[in-house]
């Protein structure tokens, strides 16, 4: 079962045309390289669009969120 986290994090991401793809992120003093973006989906928080990325480093699964309005990243879940 995933653990709820909801913390701001630093993310290295590729922005190309209309797509965003996280490549690595720093969390718990570790730099985690993303091997696979397994699923993406969108939600809204008020007027802000949020992009969700389910990502795997080959060992664990994490959910990263990108707020299109604030351009901030958060980690929502880890397992």
């Amino acid at each position: 079962m995933p653990i709820e986290i909801d913390e701001p994090i630093s993310v290295g991401a590729e922005f190309s045309r209309n797509a965003v793809r996280p490549v690595w992120f720093s969390w718990n003093k570790r730099r985690i390289v993303i091997r696979e973006v397994t699923f993406t989906w969108k939600t809204r928080e008020g007027s802000a669009g949020i992009l969700h990325f389910s990502v795997s480093d080959g060992q664990g699964l994490y959910e990263l969120c990108y707020n299109k309005e604030t351009t901030g990243w958060r980690i929502a879940h880890a397992e």
Binding site: M1, P2, E36, T40, W41, T43, R44, G46, H52
Partner: protein, 415 residues
């Protein structure tokens, strides 16, 4: 437009697409560790009812509706994932984009089922079976999901076809085959004939669609009223219901607006139930105001821990769309109810709706309250639901992992 066959008769071609184990398949796609193993999507950590078992779990006997414990007994290696409606909504939107590339006439039947009217698409995509194959391929390539497709001359038969072969099926019921397919088919297999109707028909000696279609119309009308004619048509495989595309579905005015929530823990405390009612009243009121509705009838629904469910309704002197008005009326209703068991579900709805019934508040107090509601709506639209709310709701119940009744592709309905 319906296509014309060589005899010059107008014939429709309808596809019904049913996504296989949709929630479970999305979770398996999202989490590589869940792929190819028995897993099930459950509603929440606290109320572990299976919503969608994967096909690997179904092979072990796990079924929708089983409790956490029952499912584990059937399949000790079963893995659970908590439902994430946002993922499923998004996946549905992506599917809708694919379907709408084949035809603009797409009717969403539920989050994982749709009817497509592909009459007249033959020159673009081939015959109906070829069209269905192309859609299935696109869904697999782009979404990694499988579906069962029924192809028929109407919605009733297309739906029947998709139910006949699962998972990943494709069944064509052509107009010439209808009588043969229906002759010995139990009536309960038809969409719209549930257990109660099946029982009623059985008492009349009608068990198969063939028998239903041969029953004189007068006999069915005498027993079921206007529904009798519809039942006879169903027995004959007739259905004129059009495929209603999404934009037309959205234009239909609502008859009622409501929300309910299953609580994490059963609750007997009246003050707590009143707080849940306030939270639900606020959500309902927000949707009423977004749709420019007022309603004059409020309904409270409670479900006890033993699943006994009842509703109490109250007609108001004035139509309302403010959360506090709905809450106050329902607290009165609650005061008249003897709560003899812990409550597991609370529901609030408003009916008797009138659209654009705007009357400027006459008195200062009313005006201020109306302006305050407008200001709260603006802030919550901008920053998210319950950003500004009543102090009582700071301790509100947080259970956002449900699919909103207002859900539709592209975001919730405006009301």
């Amino acid at each position: 437009m319906p296509s014309e066959d060589c005899a010059g008769k107008n014939r429709r071609t309808i596809l019904h697409l049913d996504m296989n184990a949709f929630f479970a398949s999305v979770e398996q796609r999202s989490d590589p560790a869940l792929r190819s193993r028995p897993m099930a999507v459950i509603g929440s950590k606290h109320r572990g009812v299976v919503l969608s078992p994967s096909y690997e779990a179904r092979a072990c006997g796990v079924k929708t509706g089983m409790t956490y414990g029952e499912a584990r007994t059937k399949c000790p290696s079963l893995v659970f994932a908590i439902a994430d409606p946002d993922k499923y909504s998004h996946a549905c939107e992506e599917l809708l984009k694919i379907w709408q590339e084949f035809t603009p006439l797409v009717e969403l039947f539920s989050i994982d089922e749709a009817f497509l009217d592909v009459s007249g698409c033959g020159r673009l995509f081939g015959d109906p079976v070829q069209t269905a194959v192309r859609i299935k391929e696109r869904i697999w390539q782009e979404q990694g999901l499988t579906c069962s497709v029924g192809v028929g001359p109407n919605k009733l038969l297309a739906k029947l076809g998709s139910d006949m072969q699962k998972p990943d099926g494709l069944v064509l019921i052509s107009p010439d085959d209808v009588a043969d397919v229906l002759e010995d088919l139990p009536v309960k297999e038809l969409c719209g004939i549930g257990p109660s109707l099946t029982q009623s028909l059985a008492t009349m000696g009608i068990r198969t669609c063939g028998e239903l279609g041969r029953t004189p119309l007068a006999v069915l009308v005498a027993r079921f009223g206007v529904l009798g004619g519809r039942l006879r048509d169903m027995g004959l495989g007739k259905d004129d219901e059009p495929v209603i595309p999404l934009d037309e579905q959205q234009e239909t005015d609502s008859k009622s607006i409501g929300h309910s929530m299953t609580l994490n823990e059963d609750c007997s405390e009246v003050a707590m139930i009143e707080r849940h009612i306030l939270q639900l009243s606020e959500k309902v009121a927000r949707r009423l105001r977004r749709g420019s509705y007022h309603g004059n009838t409020v309904t409270l629904t409670l479900r006890y821990s033993d699943f006994r469910t009842f509703s109490r309704q109250r007609k108001l002197r004035h139509a309302v769309n403010h959360g506090l008005d709905i809450h106050a009326a329902l607290c009165d209703v609650l005061g008249e109810v003897r709560i003899d068991q812990p409550v597991r579900l609370v529901g609030v709805s408003v009916s008797g709706l009138a659209k654009n019934m705007v009357q400027m508040p006459l008195f200062n107090r009313e005006r201020k309250r109306s302006f305050a509601a407008e200001a709260m709506d603006d802030i919550n639209d901008r920053f998210g639901e319950f950003t500004v709310t009543w102090g009582t709701l700071l301790e509100r119940y947080r259970h956002d992992r449900v699919i909103s009744p207002a859900w539709q592709p592209g975001g919730d309905r405006q009301y």
